[in-house]
Amino acid sequence: MSKSLLIVSRQPPWSGPSAREALDIALAGGAFDLPIGMLFLDDGVLQLVGSQQPGTLQQKDLSANLQALPLFGVEALYASTRSLQERGLDGQALALAIETLDDAALTALIDRYDQVITL
């Protein structure tokens, strides 16, 4: 059986290639049909805000990569309730259908996966 991998993305979207490169790990794993989960934590939840316009920074939009996750078979998508609340995003419509988890549920989530990468 394939080992599962949880990718924890903590990077804001437009501060360099880090957020995109974390997504790339998830997409590559999905392309190989591996059981991949993705958790947006801390500033990583800022990637989920809708209607962002990175074109003003001459950056490529991440939202296409985010939307591609389920298409690549990465359907286990989570965000930290606390991180969303801290950043004033609780209750806001997000750019991705995603399950929000409290701290205890995050501990259980990390426990379930075979390997974790936190970027």
Binding site: T107, I110, D111, T118, L119
Partner: protein, 99 residues
Amino acid sequence: MATLHVLSHSPFSDSRLSSCLRLLGSGDGLLLSGDAVYALQRGTAQRQALDLMPANIGLFALEEDLCARAIDAPPRVQVVDYPGFVELSCRFGKVNSWL
């Protein structure tokens, strides 16, 4: 499957330690390396938070980083060298480095 969390950022300028402490589960471990060993500095809120961690959380620190920074680990913290780090990564089910 218990997780060994590994930190290397200074806890005074970065939120990783506080994020990580909230996610530690029973049986998990925390290894402080690099500037993260500053969390053991006496008289700080970070050190106090670590002192209050339940006994079922294993606390570890990388010896070379403690020595380089003149930091004394409290008895609760197990000081490890690289072979010890390797052994820890075998003992825990997985290793989660907060990059």
